[in-house]
């Protein structure tokens, strides 16, 4: 009777560890009462099968596996593949630990001279196994929170599950062959182990490749995010400008009223003085640069003012830029990135000049910018930033190149002679 009770307790602990494992691996955060109910059902059914099928080990194992599989499928509601893989992973982890412990115990027996493992020790070893699995689960949990596994997709998981499974099979094989005590068996085990290791290495490469691909996807999304940020900035400036424009219209009406009043009162000289004064003020606030293209004007004028505040001059050479086929967001991306980087680089130089051209030349739109720079330039391909805020900067050049490519254009950079020169040619049609 005690043996039965002990068996049931062991099943209970096993189910609990199994549940914790699944929750970690399948990232389940919330629990519903139904889940508990189903796991209690699992516990009862597994206890029954363990008690009654104890003499038919393979059948017992299979039945338990199927029970676990079915209940986890109902509770966790993820895809068939994921359930299968997580169950296999659990089985793999559990058996590898169990058989490793078995090996250790056997070695201990050989060393200390004990010939049999007492029953109580079997229970203890079972509990130790489960405890070890619990530790593994705990480690997995921490790894999850740190996002170690977040870059794996289903294919990556499949490959990853192979590791514990292979370990389990290899260990079992080793145990069996060491029991058989034949050199041939040992050799075949070792060859199996060697072959498996070789395959593991290959799988590791595939796994890493998988992770790298995901990283690239993430990076691309960050690029897009930066692009959107620039566009937002532009729109915000434009809407600010609208507000200023409304205020100016208001002022204009006031001015007209003043002039009307002065005219009615015959105060001609005062009126003339007043008008001259107002004209002077107005002339200063008109845009410095006008290409006919509202958006490009917005970008160039804002950057011109920004540069002027920092003592930088930008001799602009431009054309009539109306009717361009390139999208607004692409133009903003290219122009703001080039000018931002140029302004930043030139600040540390003696000669604070950025020669910036945006012109039409036969069938091409040419955007060209040259500015001096000091110190080391980041690697052309990655343009990883030296700025502290790594997350938000450094995508400039990548952004420019991608946008130009998307418009069937060419973008080249030359950094000789202390001048950073970027030249872009985009077909107009």
């Amino acid at each position: 009777m005690t043996a039965h009770i002990i068996t049931i307790i062991l099943v209970l602990t096993d189910i609990l560890v199994y549940y914790t494992f699944l929750k970690t691996v399948l990232k389940r955060k919330s629990e519903k009462p139904l889940d508990y109910f189903l796991f209690v059902v699992l516990f009862i059914l597994t206890s029954i099968s363990t008690l009654f099928l104890n003499d038919y080990l393979p059948v017992k194992l299979l039945v338990n596996f199927i029970l676990k599989f079915v209940i986890s499928f109902i509770v966790f509601k993820v895809s068939f593949k994921k359930i299968l893989l997580s169950n296999l992973a659990y089985t793999g982890v559990l058996y590898s630990i169990e058989f490793t412990l078995l090996l250790i115990v056997e070695q201990l027996c050989n060393v200390t001279g004990l010939s049999e493992i007492p029953v109580s020790d079997a229970v203890i070893s079972e509990l130790i196994c489960q405890f070890t699995v619990l530790i593994v689960v705990f480690v997995l949990n921490i790894a999850y929170r740190k996002g170690v596994f977040s870059n794996l997709d289903i294919k990556g998981w499949f490959i990853f599950a192979f590791f514990p499974l292979f370990t389990a099979i290899a260990v079992i094989d080793l145990v069996v062959s060491s029991e058989a005590q034949s050199v041939k068996a040992v050799y075949s085990s070792l060859s199996f182990l060697a072959a498996g290791m070789f395959i593991l290495n290959i799988l590791l490469f595939i796994l890493l490749d998988n992770v790298v691909k995901r990283e690239n996807e993430i990076r691309e999304k960050e690029l897009l995010f930066e692009q959107a940020e620039h566009l937002n900035q532009m729109y915000r400036s434009l809407s600010d400008e609208r507000e200023r424009q409304k205020a100016r219209s208001h002022d204009y009406i006031n001015n007209l009223n003043v002039m009307l009043m002065l005219a009615r009162e015959g105060k001609v000289d005062e009126e003339i003085r007043y008008i001259e004064e107002q004209l002077g003020k107005e002339m200063q606030s008109v845009d410095v640069i006008d290409t006919g293209n509202t958006l490009i004007n917005a970008v160039l004028n804002i950057k011109y003012l920004e540069a002027k505040e920092k003592g930088i001059i930008i001799p602009f050479i431009a054309d009539n830029l109306t009717g361009l086929k390139i999208s607004d967001s692409d133009l903003v991306t290219i122009l703001t990135n080039i000018l931002d980087n140029a302004i930043e680089a030139v600040q540390k130089c003696e000669e604070k000049r950025i020669v910036f051209k945006i012109i039409k030349d036969s069938d091409l739109l040419i955007i060209d910018s040259a500015n001096p720079y000091v110190g080391q330039l980041p690697d052309e391909d990655s343009f990883v930033t030296t700025k502290n805020d790594k997350k938000n900067h450094g995508f400039g050049l990548a952004n420019i190149k991608n946008t130009v490519k998307a418009n069937n254009g060419n973008c080249f950079i030359d950094t000789e002679g202390g001048i950073f020169h970027i030249s872009i040619a985009i077909p107009l049609a």
């Binding site: 290409t291 001799p315 009539n320 039409k360 030349d361 030249s423």
Partner: protein
């Protein structure tokens, strides 16, 4: 000597420009000459000046003929002179015909000096590049050539031939390797397009897959290996001189 023509209907600004130009060239120790005109019509009448000027600075907003129209007329007579526009606002939207101004100088009091000096830097640099001569011992004897007149170089056995544009009757050959000459002329925008030919980018009309077309109509093949470099250098050059 750098020859400059100023055209502005405001005497005050003519004075300011003359002073700034004098300051610039005295600093550099270079000789220069400045002629002032108070209207577009006056400038256009002086055909002699239009032919020899290195730089013409035109105020955009003038009574009578405005700067842009004046520039168009100047271009009809002189395709090569550097033209710079002076204005408080850089307005590019009205130009239907591309006058190819080298710079737009801001006419506001706090900007004019910096922008004018930058413009002068650019023009002086260009003049150096165009007027520079090279003296070598050719098979026909020691000769000086204007670098800008060289269209391309071609290997013929142990010798390299200089092909000039516009072509002269004389044949310029020298017993230097192409590589040596290319290295010498690299600062003047010369580029090897194959193992046998080096072109002067200033004479290139277009670059396509595996062919370079020059302004004298000649076509030079580009080796596959060098194509990427050639296209890159050409695009950068085109942007630089646009």
């Amino acid at each position: 000597m750098v020859k400059i023509a100023l055209c502005d209907d405001e005497a005050k600004f003519l004075e300011i420009e003359k002073e700034l130009i004098a300051e610039y060239f005295e600093d550099k120790g270079m000789s220069f000459s400045v002629e002032s005109y108070s209207s577009g019509e006056e400038l256009l009448k002086d055909e002699a000046m239009l032919k020899i000027a290195d730089l013409i600075i035109l105020d955009v907003e003038m009574k009578g003929i405005d700067g842009i129209s004046a520039a168009k007329k100047i271009r009809e007579q002189n395709d090569k002179v550097n033209i710079a526009f002076l204005s408080a606002h850089m307005n590019y939207s009205t130009d239907g015909y591309h006058v190819r101004a080298v710079r737009f100088i801001l006419k506001t009091m706090d900007d004019i000096k910096d922008y004018l000096f930058e413009c002068l830097d650019c023009v002086v640099n260009n003049l150096n590049l165009i007027d520079k001569e090279i003296t070598l011992d050719f098979t026909i004897g020691k000769r000086s050539l204007r670098i800008n007149d060289i269209a391309y170089l071609k290997t013929v056995g142990n010798y390299t031939t200089f092909v000039l544009s516009p072509d002269t009757k004389e044949s310029y050959m020298i017993r230097y390797t192409l590589k040596k000459l290319t290295d010498m002329l690299k600062p003047f925008d010369f580029l090897a397009v194959s193992s046998n030919e080096t072109v002067n980018l200033r004479h290139v009309e277009s670059v396509s897959r595996y062919l370079v077309v020059l302004d004298n109509g000649e076509e030079i093949p580009v080796s596959q290996k060098k194509y990427n470099d050639v296209f890159r250098a050409y695009t950068l050059f085109r942007g630089k001189t646009a």
